[in-house]
Amino acid sequence: MAITFKDVTHVYQADGPLAFEGLSHVSFEIPTGSFSAIIGQTGSGKSTLVQHMNALLKPTSGTIQIGKRLITPETKNKHLKPLRQEVGMVFQFPEQQLFAETVLEDISFGPQNFGVDAATAKKIALQMLELVKLPASVADKSPFDLSGGQMRRVAIAGVLASKPQVLILDEPTAGLDPQGHEELMELFAQLHQQGKTIILISHQMEDVAQYAQQVLVMDQAHLVRTASPQSIFNDIEFLNQHHLMQPESTQFAQELVQKGFEFAQLPITETQIIRELLKQLGGLHG
């Protein structure tokens, strides 16, 4: 499902004395099956932006096309369920949304809301448990007895269980240990390969560099640039201007440049830098 924003503005507390713009005239397009990343400082409007993609927020002006559905400022709150089934959203610290008595019940909550019968929902829940690499033994435990990292996986499984075509991830790996982080990112990459459209909000530029095909840069409610990670992470002036960091590999490559190395384009991932260095040091044969 493609998502197209056309001149979308969102004003919080529009009638109040403290009205402020969360989004200002944002236009962009996310193609079907792509992996997009949204980066920007805290408070730049990233979360506001993604909450428009499943109509949790509606634009104050402008329109959003999600698949065949058009969201306008006049869109009613009813009949949005099918949209929310198609566009899954993993919020920041999603473990806070857990509530059911058992892990299995919590994961099957989403599908059941979308009209899947209990038996099928349970079957899906067990599959999801496996997908997020949790042992089947936790299925009947209370989600509140799990560790923080396990709770995060249960919550993500709960979103995946609705089988969305578009998956929005709002800093899904914040606060996880490196191994958990890597496993989850691998899972998202795998889902992307299966054809899902992925939209990732992240402060981890390494992830953005490694997985994203398209990067949206937000700053103070404005979308300041939409481009490939390669071109954004090579534009140091632009990054500094919007208080963003380069991925570690790019920073390292830049230090190498000062020592006399030359790169046609600064590498942005580990694989890229290793390949480039092997070539330049003459270690790559064939």
């Binding site: 919080y12 949790l56 929310r84 806070q96 989403g110 809301n113 979308f114």
Partner: protein, 264 residues
């Protein structure tokens, strides 16, 4: 988020905003008491002029005060109607069973209406120009004399200010959790009553869990910074009684005297 207005406070720099919250608190109470001194049009006029000039001084648009009346409107209409229909005396020019209308009862109804309006306006003025935290500090300060009877004034004030600071936090949390469950296909405010009640559970449980977590973190943070009960603690937010606050108190004494002279 995070920028929401707690209570009805509107930020501003007017003279009323700058008054000591204790002064505003006491003044509001005095006003509510002396409203009952008014019993003829001269006294009501004096009070109205007083309130309107206070509203003007606060530099807050009158519409916010009228909004303050709205939730009370049914109570006001009901009370005024009772007063009008059941006041005995005077020459009734309309009568139906036990109901009657006379010049006297209409006058009474009108005065009661004015009384409501004035009290609502002045208390709205207090809540619009005073932050909830200032309010909690003021309550703590005003309750201080109760220490003599071993009333835990400081603890109560602390509880009050913590509770107030939790309101925006919990409201943000509720929005977040509701959104998360909406994204998982919950329809709030849709379907039968039973379904709607059921839809509350996925909000309430996470909300309980997270408020306990927040409370737990807060108590750990306080203890790790050496919080030992509030005995002999100095305060970060100092309340200072200025000359203008004394002036306001003086103004209220003058107003009371005027009311006593003018009332019939």
């Amino acid at each position: 988020m995070g920028k929401m207005i707690i209570g009805r406070y509107l930020p501003g720099k007017s003279l009323i905003h700058q008054l000591d919250p204790r002064c505003k608190f006491i003044a509001t109470f005095i006003f509510v008491a002396i409203v009952f001194l008014a019993n003829n049009w001269q006294t009501y006029l004096a009070l109205t002029i007083f309130v309107l000039s206070a509203v003007l001084l606060s530099q807050v648009s009158l519409s916010f005060f009228i909004k303050g009346v709205r939730p009370m409107i049914f109570l006001i209409i009901f009370t005024v109607a009772l007063q009008m229909l059941f006041t005995p005396g005077g020459h009734p020019f309309w009568q139906w069973g036990i109901f009657s209308l006379s010049a006297l009862s209409i006058r009474n109804g009108l005065f009661i209406f004015m009384r409501f309006l004035l009290i609502i306006f002045i208390s709205t003025l207090l809540t619009i120009t005073t932050t909830p935290l200032q309010m909690a500090d003021a309550v703590g300060a005003i309750l201080k004399p109760l220490k003599i009877v071993h009333f835990p004034v400081e603890e109560v004030a602390l509880m009050l200010s913590i509770a107030l600071q939790f309101i925006p936090l919990l409201s943000d949390e509720t929005t977040k959790i509701m959104n998360a469950q909406r994204a998982r296909g919950v329809d709030f405010g849709d379907g039968s009553i039973l379904r709607q009640i059921k839809a509350i559970i996925p909000i309430l449980i996470p909300l309980f869990v997270s408020s306990f977590n927040i409370a737990y973190d807060l108590s750990i943070a306080m203890e790790s910074r050496g919080y030992q009960g509030s005995e002999n603690r100095s305060k970060y937010r100092q309340l200072k009684w200025h000359f203008q606050d004394s002036l306001v108190m003086l103004l209220f004494i003058v107003l009371t005297i005027i009311l006593i002279i003018l009332r019939s």
